[in-house]
Symmetry: D2
Subunit: 351 residues, 4 copies
């Protein structure tokens, strides 16, 4: 099922009824190179995709059972933690390229899964899989056949801090505090009492005060410990990371602009937003809602010898489905931005 003329590749989505699955379907449906041939859902088999995702009412596709997977060029798995590692053989039988949006193949070693999750069923595959944060490691993604799309909060954090490490402004021994604010879509489509509208609305709620699992991804890729705290705020989409760091030596605004431009100047999905005029002077999730963009910015605090780095993404896009499609574009040799060019809306509310 494609909204476009003549796509060149077939794609399927396992776990298509959840929020991330729906976002994948939307992106693939309007992608110039993909034709969606299958979307699976155990609970909604035989319902149209529009039954779950009102924005996809125009898409003529019904969910099918995950038991019977079509052969496709690329399979996207948008399933809860643990499902992909259990079904990875079926996924790889069905598709030459598998993009997993869960955490199942993000970490490098079984030991990390023992520490941060409940172990791993298929540790021998961890070496094969490629973590996907294309701005970080697109060279590894070309031709990759098992891709682990980076986590939302980790992506926001890594995007913010990476240039400081790359340019030697941070070495990894400094104190790094990351205070993240996220929207309710991070909790997925289920949800009990805490995510009911009356209880969840308007919160500033410490939902992962310490010990959030994305710390493991961040450590792995930055090679540094971060003190990580996540708050739920009033927003549906969006993750905003504020990184408070204390470099050893003096750092100027010019140093920072240099470091961030060096890293991101040519990146199609990164905007540097640091001061300037107007209403939107630093990164904000609502400015990137619905897009695959990351906004990154910073401010100096000389009195406290501190840098504050701000990073904002749409957790459903750059934090999951958009990043996965971006990675698939790279893996399959397509234009990186194919299907990901939506500019976002202004004005827009709690996105």
């Amino acid at each position: 099922m494609s909204a476009n003329g003549e796509p060149s590749l077939t794609a399927s989505v396992v776990g298509g009824s959840g929020f991330t699955g729906g976002e994948l379907l939307r992106l693939l449906y309007q992608h110039p190179e993909f034709e969606v041939t299958q979307a699976t859902s155990r609970s909604y088999a035989n319902k149209t995709v529009g039954h779950q995702h009102p924005n996809l009412r125009g898409m003529d596709l019904r969910f099918s059972s995950p038991e019977d997977l079509d052969s496709v060029d690329v399979l996207f798995a948008a399933t809860p933690h643990g499902v992909s590692m259990e079904h990875i053989d079926e996924f790889q039988d069905a598709a030459g390229t598998v993009v997993d949006l869960s955490a199942d193949f993000r970490l490098d070693t079984e030991e990390q899964y023992d520490e941060w999750y409940d172990g791993h069923d298929r540790p021998e595959l961890l070496e094969q899989s490629e973590y996907a944060l294309p701005e970080l490691n697109r060279e590894n993604l070309e031709g990759a056949d098992l891709i682990a799309s980076g986590g939302c909060n980790a992506t926001a954090t890594i995007m913010g801090l990476l240039p400081l490490f790359e340019e030697g402004i941070l070495s990894g021994d400094e104190q790094i505090v990351v205070d993240v604010k996220v929207g309710s879509s991070e909790g997925g489509a289920g949800g009990g009492e805490a995510s009911s509208h009356p209880e969840r609305s308007g919160v500033v709620r410490p939902y992962a005060p310490t010990g959030h699992r994305h710390e493991a991804e961040i450590q792995q890729f930055l090679g540094a410990d971060v003190s990580f705290t996540v708050h739920a705020v009033e927003m549906i989409r969006g993750a905003s990371a504020t990184c408070h760091v204390f470099p050893d030596g003096p750092v100027s605004k010019g140093d920072l602009w240099g470091a961030y431009r060096e890293q991101y100047e040519d990146e199609p999905f990164v905007e540097l937003v640091a001061g300037g005029g107007g209403v939107y002077r630093y990164p904000e999730p609502k400015a990137v809602a619905g897009t695959n963009k990351a906004e990154v910015g910073f401010e100096l605090d000389p009195a406290n010898k501190r840098l504050v780095v701000f990073s904002a993404i749409d957790n459903m896009m750059k934090g999951s489905a958009g990043q996965a499609v971006h990675a698939a574009n790279v893996a399959l040799g397509l234009d990186e931005t194919a299907g990901l060019d939506f500019a976002g809306l202004h004005p827009v509310g709690s996105p």
Copy 2:
């Protein structure tokens, strides 16, 4: 300035710093057939368009003064009421096709402007201009050189009620109550105390209890009086019209499905949503946020011999900028849906 390869037509936006102007710029920038050569703003001349519209930071264009208009194929005017009628000659000198998004050319006669507005400076042009609600009158728009894009609340209402008139279920003598709920972007980018965030948030506020000017458009096109009331609710984008009507004779669900399918079955921007399963069972603004779609649905109330018709649009899109681009597509012989294929987001908040 175009995000695409080789656009065939040039376009400009007069009044580009406002909300509607920004939405036009976004649509035209990503439109396959238009290149934006100019966006004017008196207040922000020489600032980048991204200064006002953070979603357009990637667009390499600065506002220019409205004094000096480029020659273009199509000029869109997104200016407050009264500006277009004053500058219409300049607009028509600059462009073969002028699409006005204000109310200045929507009504047919000077008398209507005397009654509902403060008269009209150029009444001789009213006959020349074509009201644009393409689902209603696309045949008039082909080749039109002065187009008055339909108003947001009028569009939502007319889209909901039109099939009942076309199919003879309503004659125009019946009692028609239209209760509209709108978002804060209808108030535009200015805003005083009443539209400040602390005062405007969370309201259900009767902002036009009676006498809203869009009544005139509705009367003109439906040929019937409507009792019209507009409430501001917590939403940025969106207009939702609930039409309570009392047909003279009995009406069945089958009659209604017949009437609405007849009218809208082949329309690319209309979705019929009336009952069924899932969470989204009737039209809702958030299901169409960011898109040019109208959702239309209905329910029977036999006990009260009433029909309730629901209609939902994004006031910035189907209610203004999207409708204007749709009309321009028709006027210039382009694919009707060109540049307007964004499917919308799920989930999405107060859009």
Copy 3:
């Protein structure tokens, strides 16, 4: 458990863990004449009331099982529809005065329950019970021993329309359309997918397009049919009724002020808000959030021979718990406003 010095009466709340139960506990805890001796909850027995209701952390009371009811002066039942009619004998054994907040004893006849609900187990008690909307019928409440507190949407509607009937501006034969907008707390503390934060946020959702059960209460008390439609909007607390009516004869603003002043001038919980200056010119739910007040106002639409009446309440207060305490105050001969004097907040958000 009382926050005050020496209360004179004991009270209990059956169903204390739900939203309405929590609101009752808050009101009774700070009420000068009541001591709360028991709050029941099957699911949360032995948990503190503050476990469910964070605003009541200071209250030293634990939920007990509903099996074993204390003897009290007044028992408030905040249980789902059907529970009170099943347990009414136990309730009446435990307390001389029973105030039921469900719909179980609101209607007069078994036939009405057959039509609007699933029949009634104890129809012989319907005659004994008194519907409580004190502004309507406080004289019946004095000394009443079984009180059925009026429903939220019905209360908003009746408060708006009553003066028109009392003063003969409406006779009951006219077309009456009532378009109600409500917050998510009306759905109670449970909630599935439709009331999860990502799906419920920012909606204008027709949730009871036709056939809402509160129509029965309104018909019963106004003696007129109303065409009733309820929308869910972005709000936690609040119900706003917009009543569109078409009187037979001419009506002036003076007539309306006369009718509404006559009815409400001396009412401690009613504010007339109709035009005037400032930001808050008509009734708004957020202006009464947390209070037992109803705001009522109106506007004339001479062109359509229409009156529009606006009415706004907090559905948790004037629409349930506050109204129940108000009724108990009257029944027990206390000061009507005792425990209900909170003025509300400004500014306040989606309340």
Copy 4:
């Protein structure tokens, strides 16, 4: 003007039309010991207080010009920074006790005002004034005649960190990062483009990335530097401080409970909320909206040798008007909690 029987003291509010002024009026109106005799407003002189504050429509008081101040027992000044220092003589002539809610008398020395503000007109009074954060220094407030009510973000921060200093867990040499999230009422009743509803809704916006003036208050009272960053989030009322601290030695949960209980066990306006069950497990602004309470809690992060302390207040109450009334209660020898016993609401939205 008092809602109560026989108040013993007279009070006035200078700057009564702003948000903080309105909150003071509400509190004083329902306070058992105060009669409000005057509320001033230059812009709204002769309008009723209900014109600006819809919750105060029942209060029979009109704004008067600030030129002519009544003699009262206590005058509250809710004016912008700089006004109180200019008019302090008039204030002190009018009232034996002046409570200033601005920053004009919070800091100890002229040097601090030179560094953080634009100097000070009346530095000789700085020694006379008492900073009011009653949990910190109530002993200084008894009988004080010039009181500087603590700032909202400073109050949230100090409330969170104070026990760590008092108990020696922090010495002041450690790295302290404070990441604050605040609602839009902090910006006051004015507001330009950035605080218009469409632009301000749904934000996570770094509005004071570094250099916020409340750092000065915090430094002064904790005797330690803090790295302070403030974000605007979707909320009207509320300030939430997340303090990330790195003690030199090991700290256990027991140590923390000990420190916080020692400090706050007997405080009527402080709730310790740290883990436990239910939905509300850490401090949250919406749980204290409308109240004078501060919620304080903490969590250990042994992997990073970090403590995270959470603190939540209503910026309009414990962060300004409530704190001011609390301080006046202490200064005048009244019951500390008089007029401040509202428990808050559940559920409640973006408060």
